[in-house]
């Protein structure tokens, strides 16, 4: 008998393979309303130890990095250590997050992003905070630089976020002064995941590059004034009807490590002021950023 010849000759193996394949395809074809509860039930049961362990490892990693930061600041070699770009970026991000927390005051939950190995990480994100921490569905998720996405599923100890880069994401948006309104969604095709599209801009309006786009507050999901990005250039125009612009995003979901989950209804006023100051402050406290 040849090596392993009995393996591929078995009908039972073929049946098992086809059965698994069919169940996988059926699962894939299930409507979102059915898939989400199944996935949530798995995270709450069989995957709970794994998610908890991963969360602790992530916390341990964050603590270790925090210790490194403290040592670097205390040490006379802090300047040399701060030249490491990754470290500088993370320090700046954490400082910005602390400042944003101070400006918002209350009405939010802090969470770590537990990045997964899957290809779709960046479209949906798993957060370390869940229902027990006060996270609710449809809650906006922000980083110090702008909107990251919104919560779609909430478990007791974790939650799933639909990032702005997700093909189904939409947000009502406007220019910072509230003069021009439109809809922001992820760009598809070329440069997908890197930039957004600002659609539905009236043809009579021209937006110069660098114009800040923020959430409009319409629709009741996102509070007014959260930065989405800045205009990079015009993408297309329907003659006499509307224009579509490319938007450079304010926050990249695949890169954020810590976020704030805003509690729905906690912010009835615009958040523009809370997001306006950090850029200047960051530049002042982290000169290496500008290099």
């Amino acid at each position: 008998m040849t090596i392993g010849a009995e393996r591929y000759g078995s009908r039972a193996d073929t049946v098992a393979f086809v059965a698994c394949l069919v169940v996988a395809l059926v699962t894939l074809a299930l409507p979102e309303a059915l898939r989400a509860p199944i996935a949530a039930a798995m995270r709450r049961s069989v995957l709970l130890p794994a998610v908890t362990l991963e969360s602790r490892v992530a916390a341990s990693r964050a603590q270790r990095q925090a210790v490194l930061v403290l040592r670097a600041e205390r040490d006379s070699f802090a300047l040399a250590a701060s030249q490491v770009p990754e470290l500088v970026t993370e320090i700046a991000e954490l400082r910005a997050l602390l400042r944003l927390r101070a400006r918002l005051g209350s009405g939010f939950v802090t969470a770590e992003v537990l990045h997964q190995s899957g290809l779709t990480d960046g479209l949906t994100l798993l957060l370390s905070a869940g229902r027990r921490a006060g996270v609710t569905p449809l809650a906006p998720v922000v980083s110090p630089t702008g909107l990251v996405g919104m919560v779609t599923t909430v478990d007791p100890r974790s939650s799933v976020v639909m990032a702005w880069s997700h093909p189904d994401f939409r947000a009502s948006a406007m220019t910072a002064r509230g003069r021009v309104f439109g809809i922001v969604s992820a760009r598809r095709g070329e440069r997908a995941g890197e930039v957004m599209e600002f659609r539905g801009v009236p043809y009579r309006e021209r937006l110069p590059a660098g114009t800040l786009i923020v959430t409009s507050g319409l629709g009741g999901v996102f509070p007014r004034g959260i930065p989405l990005g800045t205009i990079e250039g015009m993408l297309s125009e329907a003659e006499g009807w509307e224009r579509t612009y490319l938007v450079r995003p304010a926050a990249h979901p695949a890169q954020v490590t810590h976020v704030l989950v805003l509690k729905p209804g906690a912010f009835s006023d615009t958040l523009a002021a809370a997001f306006r100051a950090p850029a200047a402050a960051d530049t002042a406290t982290a000169p290496a950023d500008s290099s």
Partner: protein
């Protein structure tokens, strides 16, 4: 000292790889070279099992993976079912426990898993496929193949006599 039964040895290695996925992989952060220990565990098991068991293991691992990254629930299960079955089937035809064959096989499996998952999840419509499949996926496949090589070098004599189920 008497060694544990072959099947038990295989499960010990698989459990070690699962622990590495949870405890070691997060330290690699967002590096594209971060090895996927879960895939190595699946292939280690499937290569030493019947194709049907490999497919079932792939389905379970894929479904669990889909639950924590539920953009396309079922896509991972679909991809890993095929990978698991193929690992059990192809390993019957090629050399068992050969380092070079294993490395090439794991690299191909990792890349093919990405292709299948992208196709099944419909993520292809999100674009940026070229960069993903020609740069990021091969980088992950290299890291995963390297991890598989280390595992084989460390446990080859241990796993050598692990029989098919």
């Amino acid at each position: 000292m008497k060694l544990a039964p072959p099947r038990l040895r295989l499960w010990i290695v698989v459990l070690l790889l699962l622990a590495a996925q949870l405890a070691v992989r997060p330290w690699f952060a967002a590096s594209p070279l971060a090895p996927d220990f879960l895939l190595v565990a699946l292939l280690t098991f499937a290569m030493r099992s019947r194709p049907g068991a490999g497919a079932a293991a792939g389905f379970v691992v894929g479904l669990l993976g889909d639950a924590v990254a539920p953009t396309a629930f079922g896509a991972g299960a679909f991809a890993l079912t095929i990978i698991g079955y193929a690992a059990g089937w192809l390993k019957a035809v090629v050399f068992a426990d050969n380092l070079l064959v294993t490395v090439v096989f794991v690299f191909a499996a990792s890349w093919l898993r990405d292709v299948l998952e992208l196709a099944a999840s419909g993520a292809l419509r999100a674009g940026a496929v070229g960069t993903q499949l020609l740069v990021l996926s091969p980088a992950t496949a290299i890291g995963t193949a390297a991890a598989a090589a280390v595992v084989l070098l460390l446990f080859r004599s241990w796993l050598h006599s692990a029989p098919a189920s």
